[in-house]
């Protein structure tokens, strides 16, 4: 039987507000432990939450980008569980009345992924498990808690199970990440934990539309690992069904170290969150004026730009440029489109230069001249494109021996030093041309313009 994967995602992103979701402690990644805390985020008795207006706006903006409906009335709930990273014993989150619902997100391949909801909540504190090996929970003899992160505004985006392959899931994540970064609502950096996601995976016979038991993969720390994890989980489920078994609903903790996904110990009573409408907060009723103003603030989104660029490039190249944040530079760099795109996605990408720091015209000159400059010089020049006042001219000039007058004596010298090869060439062994070119390049330390050297050699050897 052929099997088809069914994949859904839950993505959490930290919002880039100045202050926390429900108190006005400053958010600062890497600040001294517990130095960004107050009675509210430490859950001292009697303290109360006050929502961050900017976080609400950012969520609505994201809702627009995901083509969601922004609801008329949204309510915060308390979600209860005991854990030292949760100071109040509950997380304030949105439950059955999220701010944004029923959206969709188009991928470069033309497919659309349904967005079930995007809601606002607060992040938990950071626990450090001590005494065990390598900060793991197992074997720890104590846990240390830093509440700086507690209360960071967090948006949770839940997709419909519309993704059909690990590759598609990865591309969805890349495009979503680029979208929130460009909206200016999140850094979405996985290393900092400001972008996290879980994956739900199930499979079904191809052509069927049934939904089978799904498993949840947690703790994915990169898009590539996620893709691998999904692949492996699909294979595991196929193995189970094909040997007559049943997939069990469980949460798998992905360990990138050994690339296996052992089941998490299921937390007792984990499902009973005892949701309660948060009595310390009043409903959000986003006015149409605010909703429309935010819609007007929406920039051209990455998805739309991919579609536009795909007309002149192929889709993969367009998607690559956009999700890597290089497409705006691409559009500014003059020159043959495909060549510019290829350089940006390959040699230039390898330099790690910030696209925003680059003078597009100068980069264009460099790319245009790429066949006339030695590879090493080209690479060196690309690496310098981020420097202030970068001029391609200088690299072209310094790097290349372009003048016939400069090259002629060298060519003559090489020919004089290899009389028997000259005779052989003239006798018909034209393949020796490469040998002469190599000799000239050697003499010049690779700086000669190869095209010019070729021309000069041909001319001299004809004589």
């Amino acid at each position: 039987m052929k099997w088809a994967p069914v994949i859904g995602l839950e993505i959490h992103i930290h919002l880039k507000t100045k202050t926390k979701m429900f108190c006005r402690c400053e958010l600062e990644y890497g600040a001294e432990e517990n130095s960004r805390t107050c009675p509210v985020c430490l859950a001292h008795p009697g303290t109360l939450p006050v929502p961050n207006a900017r976080a609400i706006e950012m969520t609505i903006l994201l809702g627009h980008a995901l083509q969601c409906e922004v609801v008329e009335r949204s309510v915060f709930h308390r979600k209860h569980y005991f854990y030292p990273d949760l100071p109040k014993g509950y997380q304030i989150s949105q439950y059955d009345q999220p701010l944004c619902v029923n959206g969709r997100f188009a991928l470069a391949d033309g497919s659309e992924v349904g967005i079930t909801r995007a809601h606002l909540e607060e992040d938990a504190a950071k626990n450090v498990h001590m005494g065990g090996s390598g900060g793991r929970i197992a074997g720890a003899d104590r846990t240390l808690v830093d509440y700086n992160r507690a209360g960071t505004p967090l948006v949770e985006i839940v997709t419909e199970p519309d993704l059909r392959s690990s590759e598609q899931a990865k591309r969805f994540l890349q495009l979503l990440r680029q979208t929130v970064v460009e909206l200016g609502i999140s850094d979405a950096e996985m290393e900092k934990g400001s972008l996290r996601f879980d994956v739900n995976v199930s499979i079904r016979p191809e052509g069927s539309d049934e939904l089978r038991t799904r498993t949840e993969l947690k703790n994915m720390n990169s898009f590539n690992f996620a893709a691998k994890g999904i692949e492996r989980e699909i294979k595991r489920q196929i193995g189970i069904y094909e040997s007559g078994g049943e997939v069990e609903q469980e949460t798998l903790h992905f360990d990138p170290g050994n690339e296996s996904a052992p089941p998490l110990r299921s937390k007792e009573e984990a499902q009973d969150y005892r949701y309660l409408p948060e009595p310390d907060l009043v409903p959000l009723v986003p006015g149409r004026e605010l909703v429309e103003r935010l819609r007007g603030e929406l920039p051209e989104l990455p998805g739309a730009r991919i579609a536009r660029l795909a007309d002149e490039l192929d889709t993969d190249l367009a998607e690559g440029l956009v999700t890597s944040g290089r497409d705006r530079l691409f559009e500014q760099v003059p020159g043959e489109r495909r060549a510019v795109a290829n350089v940006l996605m390959n040699q230039w990408a390898a330099t790690g230069v910030d696209p925003a720091a680059v003078d597009a015209d100068e980069l264009g000159k460099l790319i245009e001249a790429r066949d006339r400059i030695p590879r090493a010089a080209f690479t060196e020049a690309l690496e310098a494109t981020g420097e202030p006042g970068f001029e391609a001219e200088r690299y072209l000039a310094d790097g290349q021996i372009e003048a016939t007058a400069d090259l002629e004596p060298l060519v003559e010298h090489v020919l004089a030093a290899n009389p028997s090869q000259v005779d052989d060439y003239r006798g018909g062994k034209e393949g020796l041309l490469g040998f002469f070119v190599g000799q000239v390049m050697k003499e010049t330390g690779g700086r000669a313009n190869p095209k010019l050297v070729n021309e000069l050699l041909r001319e001299k050897l004809k004589a």
């Binding site: 008795p45 009697g46 109360l48 100071p87 109040k88």
Partner: protein
């Protein structure tokens, strides 16, 4: 020598204005009275030696967070806890220059109607030390009635200001929900908790309400008052329509002596020029209690989840974090909080939400609508505050349901978010009887006016007979 038993806050203001006494001297006089009488009454959990402020000193219920002054909510789980911040109402009192005398005893986490649920021992009623002062703001009530504070703040979730005011012969205002900040008030049931004054006179209550009321940016559920607080002057009730809801006045368990005193007050309303008529709240009284005992414990079970021994408060238990939580909470909470945490956790747990909390919220709508209808016909509703006068210590501690019934008349208007003013209206068996005045939301000025006129006409002597 100041007669702290007799001195009202307004009179104390007069002494200060005329430089006959300073805030610090008054503060000292109350500390002296505490030294003399609090051994018997146990109204205070903590006293403050240094007077801060030049105004009339005040006592605060120990759910009101006070920077640097221990705040326990009457619970062992907060033993030794000294807030690093002031609650908004404590800050308001400081700003008004009211020196803090101390923190008053209460039922643990404000859960109770007798102040016997305090982890630090019960408070006794100044009228009869063998009897309870009511609760949960029993410490604040006993302090004012016993001459240990000129005025005090309490908190009221299901009658915790009105009922002890009634049992101690005082004026108690439970303000309209949302007019007084809850920031820094140790939470019991967030959608019901309100702070308010316990005083000897209605004018004192109005003075104190003026100091603490208004929108607080730190409490999302507060609003600005639609009109400034007025000190009542008028001594008649001309033009007022006063409604007597049958169910609130004929409920089972109302003592005959209580009914009689309330009847006399209703007669007085007529004599003072009010138009008096009967009205009805068919379901509010019958369903008010069940509704309250679902909503309040559910919210309480949630609000009390933060007491986990991690960031403040004592910690017990060996082993892992789970063990620590379970031991800390078992040892830290007394019986009543445990009962309500259990009840609330059960009511919110999977499968029960709609039948319990969800249904109770709908009952709340029913109650709200009934009061709204009655208050279209009448300006003010009137009833006993408590079905009984102060009862003996220990009389109801073994039977939680009997204890809960003590608030059966105080609870219904609370469910509707309405303000309620309790004023003493006479004695029954030598003990004070409280009269409950209920008005629409934000009608505090009207309640003060009504209460003031009745207070003048009744002429109740707030000094307990045995202490005169």
């Amino acid at each position: 020598m100041t007669d702290t038993l007799r001195l009202t806050a307004e009179e104390a203001m007069g002494l200060i204005e005329r430089s006959e006494a300073s805030g610090a001297e008054l503060h000292r006089a109350y500390l002296d009275a505490i030294g003399e009488r609090d051994g018997e009454l146990h109204a205070y959990l903590t006293t403050v030696e240094a007077a801060e402020g030049a105004g009339v000193p005040i006592a605060l219920k120990d759910v009101i967070s006070t920077k640097g002054v221990e705040t326990t909510a009457g619970s062992k789980i907060l033993a030794g806890y000294k807030p690093v911040f002031d609650s908004t109402v404590a800050a308001c009192c400081k700003e008004a220059g009211l020196p803090l005398i101390g923190k008053t005893n209460l039922d643990e986490f404000a859960m109770g109607s007798s102040t016997e649920n305090s982890a630090y021992g019960p408070t006794r009623n100044p009228w009869d030390p063998e009897r309870v002062p009511g609760g949960s703001s029993g410490g604040s009530a006993a302090a004012v009635a016993g001459g240990l504070a000129p005025w005090a703040l309490g908190s009221d979730t299901g009658g915790s200001i009105k009922q002890p005011a009634a049992l101690c012969g005082l004026v108690g205002l439970r303000p309209t929900y949302g007019t007084v900040s809850r920031y820094g008030i140790v939470a019991f049931a967030s959608s019901l908790d309100q702070v308010g004054p316990l005083t000897k006179t209605v004018r004192d209550a109005a003075f104190l309400y003026r100091i603490i009321a208004g929108r607080d940016p730190l409490d999302s559920t507060t609003v600005d008052l639609p009109e400034p607080v007025e000190l009542p002057e008028t001594e008649d009730l001309k033009g007022l329509r006063i409604g007597v809801p049958r169910e609130l006045n004929e409920a089972e368990g109302i003592e005959p002596g209580v009914s009689e005193a309330v009847q006399r007050a209703i007669e007085l309303c007529r004599e003072l020029g009010a138009e008096v008529g009967e009205t009805t709240l068919p379901r509010s009284v019958e369903f008010g209690m069940p509704c309250y005992y679902l909503i309040a414990p559910s919210e309480a079970s949630s609000n009390l989840a933060r007491y986990d021994g991690v960031r403040y408060g004592p910690r017990s238990g060996k082993g892992d974090i789970r063990e620590m939580y379970m031991q800390t909470r078992d040892e830290g909470f007394g019986d009543e909080p445990k009962r309500r945490i259990m009840l609330g956790t059960y009511a919110l747990s999977a499968g029960y939400y709609d039948a319990f909390y969800g249904q109770a919220q709908k009952v709340r709508t029913v109650i709200r609508d009934e009061f709204a209808a009655a208050l279209e016909q009448f300006d003010v509703l009137i009833s006993p505050t408590s079905p009984t006068v102060a009862f003996p210590l220990g009389a109801k501690t073994e039977n939680p349901l009997a204890m809960y019934l003590s608030d059966v008349l105080a609870i219904p208007p609370n469910m509707a978010g309405l303000p309620g003013l309790s004023i003493p209206c006479g004695l029954s068996e030598g003990l004070p009887v409280g009269l409950q005045l209920i008005g629409p939301q934000f009608s505090e000025n009207l309640l003060f006016r009504t209460g003031h006129a009745l207070e003048r006409a009744i002429g109740f002597d707030f000094v307990p007979e045995r202490l005169r």
